[in-house]
Amino acid sequence: MGAYLIRRCMQGVLVVFIVTVLVFCLLHALPGGPARAILGEKANATEVAAFARANNLGRPLPVQYLLWVGQLLRGNLGHSYNQNQSVMALIVQRLPKTLILTTLALLLSLVLGISLGMLQAVRRNGVIDGVTSVLSLAGYSAPTFLTGILGIWLLAIHWRIVPAQAPQGTSALGVLEDPRGLILPVLVLGVGATAAFSRYMRSSAIENLVQDYVRVARAKGVSSGRILRAHVARNALGPIATQAGLFMPVLFAGAVITESVFNYPGMGLLFWNAALSRDYPTEVGVVLVVAIATVIGSLLADVVYAVLDPRIVYVARRS
């Protein structure tokens, strides 16, 4: 287990390294070079020259890369000239809110997706299975902004059950001050993932239901409920953990849309506004943080998988 984890961590570090190289290339692909792009059109030649000197832009690219990574490691993601704040400060303020949104959506979709999938597998080819399949196909194909708009239309305007705007608290955990405002964003962000997890769980559970060990358990007189809980669910959960890890980028991307629809003050909204105002340091900073969060997420998912299903460690070791 230890060796497996260390190997996965090393892979994660390698991936993060490549991500930083890619992002660094992106920085240098900015129109007019990084200095001009970051300072904006109104900056004069002296300011551009000063910025270039301060950021070592005259030195060879590999040296610049190392210096830049050095800054990153010290927690310096650059300065947002549009908002006159350090990018790190902006992200630290917003990241918890986005994490609350994505974690709640992930938990909700796992609970719903797994239960729906199990239900479908048990009632295979019945009415419930059919209806759920059609719904999940629709949920899978609906863009987040469409579900968002429909949600506002139905739940906030027609039925007036929940507010259409997300909570606007400014502190890191401010969104928790008004939990009702969280309902709609979490639901909307969770729809796609719920659809995906339920489809995955359904096929995974069906696959397990025809296995010999289920037949043996039945022959021994184990009740259906116990077979489902103790055997089928347990075996089908491992791959779901991996799926949840793979879903991190999807959820973060969904958060950009969800946050812009509901004006939710998280990192996605920060990123969107940065993109609209061409605030490159913030854009790039968010991409880096999200990529690292994704790597950590998939790492965690693999750890959970290994705990749920110890066989995976041996398989990984042998291959």
């Binding site: 892979q11 390698l14 991936v15 490549i18 991500v19 890619l22 992106l26 129109p31 399949s133 196909l137 629709a138 949920g139 899978y140 194909s141 609906a142 863009p143 987040t144 902004f145 469409l146 708009i149 429909l150 506002i152 239309w153 729809v191 796609g192 993932a193 659809a195 995906a196 489809r199 995955y200 096929s203 995974s204 069906i206 696959e207 791959p239 991996t242 799926q243 793979l246 879903f247 980028p249 999807v250 973060f252 991307a253 969904g254 950009v256 849309i257 812009s260 629809v261 990123f271 993109a275 609209l276 490159y280 854009e283 790039v284 968010v286 991409v287 999200v290 990529a291 994704t294 998939s298």
Partner: protein
């Protein structure tokens, strides 16, 4: 909503999509006759529904404007926000006086052209990288695959947004941006195929008569991986439609007066409290129909590829 192709790409995990009791790994298609594939596909009802819907959307976008003439360039502030049916506008008009039905057609052209072209570009690039990785020394292979990992861990939409703020959005640039963030799924799948195919006897035979590596890749590996490539490309089209619509929704796509489905929805959101439903539901509906159609086709194709495999 989620990038389907991306989630399906992880080699060690079976696919997210519907897999009946026999889940064979996505990447294991063998076969020489595309005709057999088409016959198998034709047996799949949902797949055929998908084809019908997709053809419908294509006809709507490209033939529709020939039958239903509208001006999608000049604003007309005399006829703003008209409800459906008023003054000859079947689906009403928007806040600039554009005919909504005509605008859906115009937006459809951009959406379909960009998505299909981006998926095609990604398929070509991804196949070449994947085949190269599968056939190269292990060092090159690991470097390429870690690159793929890195690309997969950066959420596609974020990079597409950053790049869309760097270049001027146009059909061509969006096509390239989306393709450049979509190739790695296909690359990973084709690599898996290449790893398998390169151990087969006929490849050894080809090698023994002196075929070079590029020739083996182009003549033997790619044609045999075509099932996998086609399936993953189909799902990429669905992803591309969604990404493009998201960009347009966020106001980072091709600017007005160019029409786009996502852009129409984002305008509709501004008028949601006014009850102008025709600014929201038609655009939302057609995006869903297009994406579902492509997903149905993809599901059908995947089943066809896998069935052929099972029968061997």
């Amino acid at each position: 909503m989620p990038p389907i192709a991306k989630v399906a790409a992880e080699g060690h995990v079976p696919v997210t999509r519907e897999v009946e009791s026999e889940a064979s790994p996505y990447g294991a298609a063998i076969g020489k006759s595309p005709a057999g594939l088409i016959v198998r596909f034709a047996e799949n009802k949902l797949g055929l529904v998908g084809v019908a819907l997709f053809v419908g959307v294509v006809l709507f976008a490209f033939v529709g404007p020939l039958l239903y003439h509208t001006d999608q360039i000049h604003t007309n502030f005399d006829q703003v926000d008209l409800p459906p049916g008023a003054a000859g506008h079947l689906l009403g008009t928007d806040q600039s006086g554009y005919d909504v039905l005509g605008r859906l057609m115009a937006g459809g052209q951009t959406s379909l052209i960009v998505s299909v072209a981006a998926a095609f570009l990604a398929a070509v690039g991804g196949s070449l990288v994947g085949a190269a990785a599968g056939f190269s020394a292990s060092v090159v292979d690991s470097v390429l695959m870690r690159l793929v990992d890195a690309f997969m861990s950066i959420p596609q939409l974020f990079v597409v947004i950053v790049v869309a703020t760097i270049v001027v959005p146009s059909r061509a640039s969006l096509m390239i941006i989306i393709a450049s963030m979509s190739w790695f799924t296909t690359a990973r799948l084709v690599r898996g195929e290449a790893l398998r195919i390169r151990e087969l006897e006929y490849v050894e035979a080809a090698r023994s008569v002196g075929s070079g590596r590029p020739r083996i890749v182009i003549r033997h590996v790619l044609p045999n991986a075509v099932g996998v490539i086609v399936v993953s490309t189909t799902f990429q089209v669905a992803d591309a439609i969604l990404i493009l619509a998201s960009l347009d929704f966020l106001g980072l796509g091709i600017p007005s007066p160019s029409a786009s489905w996502g852009g129409m929805l984002s305008t509709g959101l501004q008028y949601i409290y006014d009850g102008y439903w025709w600014l929201i539901f038609p655009a939302g509906g057609i995006i869903m129909v297009a994406v579902m159609a492509v997903n149905f086709i993809g599901d059908g194709l995947r089943d066809a590829v896998e069935t052929r495999l099972r029968e061997r």
